[in-house]
């Protein structure tokens, strides 16, 4: 029952559709729509990890300073995750090919999603933060999959030259967001 509720929440509380968060790294990080899946997976990992770590750090930050210091905490967590992954990927060629091209954009989208997470009340308990972070990441991965499916057409010659590429991708995301608002509101 809990899993079903989580799946529904991934669709209903999708941060990309609701607030367009993390959409820009998705639009600009990919050439011809490639790498969107990688971006989604890395973002999901980073977002889940950063939400758990944030929940651990939160009690140490005074209430008055939380809003101002959250972006800094989040940037440090995502940046450290990024450095660790880059160092790990040096040991394996396959990992390097997977991680390096998308890690910086994934860190950016995770930082953006994480900032949203930090401004909510979900980061007081570690399990709740884990679930919320995972849901945000999974929602982002879902959007990346949807964009990837449409990318070949959006980057093809069938699109007018003026909106071909990332502009078409953003327009498509806008239409999806509108549809999501109509369905889930």
């Amino acid at each position: 029952m809990q899993i079903a509720a989580d799946i529904v929440m991934i669709l209903v509380q999708n941060l990309v559709f609701q607030s367009l968060l993390g959409l820009s790294p998705a639009a600009v990080s990919v050439k011809n729509g490639r790498g969107l899946l990688r971006l989604g997976v890395l973002t999901m990992l980073c977002c889940t990890l950063s939400s758990v770590l944030t929940a651990m750090i939160r009690p140490a930050i005074p209430n008055l300073w939380q809003k101002l210091l959250f972006p800094l905490c989040n940037a440090l967590i995502c940046g450290s995750f990024c450095i660790i992954l880059v160092l790990l990927s040096r040991k394996s060629k396959h990992l390097k090919r997977f991680v390096i091209p998308g890690i910086y954009y994934a860190a950016c989208s995770s930082a953006v999603l994480g900032t949203m997470l930090l401004s909510t009340e979900y980061t007081h308990d570690i399990p709740v933060a884990f679930r919320y972070g995972f849901r945000s990441g999974a929602g982002y991965l879902g959007v990346c999959i949807m964009l990837k499916m449409a990318a070949p057409l959006l980057y093809s010659e069938h699109m007018p030259q003026a909106v071909r590429g990332w502009k078409g991708l953003l327009l498509y995301a806008g239409i999806l967001s509108m549809a999501a608002a109509c369905i889930f509101s």
């Binding site: 559709f17 609701q18 607030s19 367009l20 968060l21 993390g22 959409l23 820009s24 790294p25 639009a27 600009v28 990080s29 809003k67 101002l68 210091l69 959250f70 972006p71 800094l72 989040n74 940037a75 440090l76 995502c78 940046g79 450290s80 990024c82 450095i83 880059v86 890690i103 910086y104 954009y105 860190a107 950016c108 930082a111 953006v112 994480g114 900032t115 949203m116 930090l118 401004s119 030259q161 003026a162 909106v163 071909r164 590429g165 990332w166 502009k167 953003l170 327009l171 995301a173 806008g174 239409i175 967001s177 509108m178 608002a181």
Partner: protein
């Protein structure tokens, strides 16, 4: 001296994705667009200037981390200043997002020539501010039927513009139209 085609042909900072969500989702009125523009200008200007002191020899991942830390530190006084200057505007999550989005700073730094950093940066930031203000103005007039909070004597014809999706579509249309108004050469540079 003629500016680089990359600078004149594209809105590099906007294209690097740092401010798409704050403009498309948050700038629903002229006042909100002004608040987000002010915060973005201060945070990015100070961060890129301070970031230019970071040695290029450092590994990219470390440079990006340093950039975002600088951005988040700059965000603290800017957030306080924005709240005081625009008391009617609640920045929500979009002002903090501006500092998070600075992960892309290292990405768009390549657009700025080190020699003309100040000029290139100013030019790019002004183009972002103009886009944000134009988006905010159109959304307020056509979406809410007001100008700077003063109601106009007609029903807003496009209330969808108040929603983030409407804002995103409008922003893409502006980004598509502007290069064509500037000339075909710039438009081709943008589409590439």
């Amino acid at each position: 001296m003629k500016a680089s085609p990359k600078i004149t042909g594209t809105q590099s900072v906007l294209l690097s994705g740092a401010v798409i969500a704050p403009i498309a989702a948050f700038s629903v009125s002229l006042t909100q667009a002004a608040a987000v523009s002010f915060a973005f200008f201060c945070i990015t200007f100070l961060t890129v200037l301070a970031g230019s002191l970071i040695p290029v020899k450092l590994p990219l991942s470390l440079r990006i981390l340093l950039y975002s830390v600088i951005g988040c530190l700059v965000y603290i006084p800017v957030a306080v200043l924005t709240v005081n200057l625009f008391p009617s505007v609640s920045g929500g999550i979009y002002i903090p997002l501006l500092s998070s989005a600075l992960y892309l700073t290292a990405g768009f730094q390549r657009y700025f020539r080190r020699k003309h950093l100040f000029r290139d940066l100013l030019k790019n930031l002004l183009s972002v501010i103009c886009t944000a203000m134009l988006t905010g103005c159109i959304r307020e007039v056509l979406g809410s039927g007001t100008v700077a909070g003063i109601p106009l004597r007609f029903q807003p014809p496009l209330p969808i513009l108040v929603h983030p999706s409407g804002g995103l579509i409008l922003l893409v249309l502006i980004l598509t139209a502007v290069p064509y108004l500037r000339g075909k050469e710039a438009a081709h540079a943008d589409c590439g």
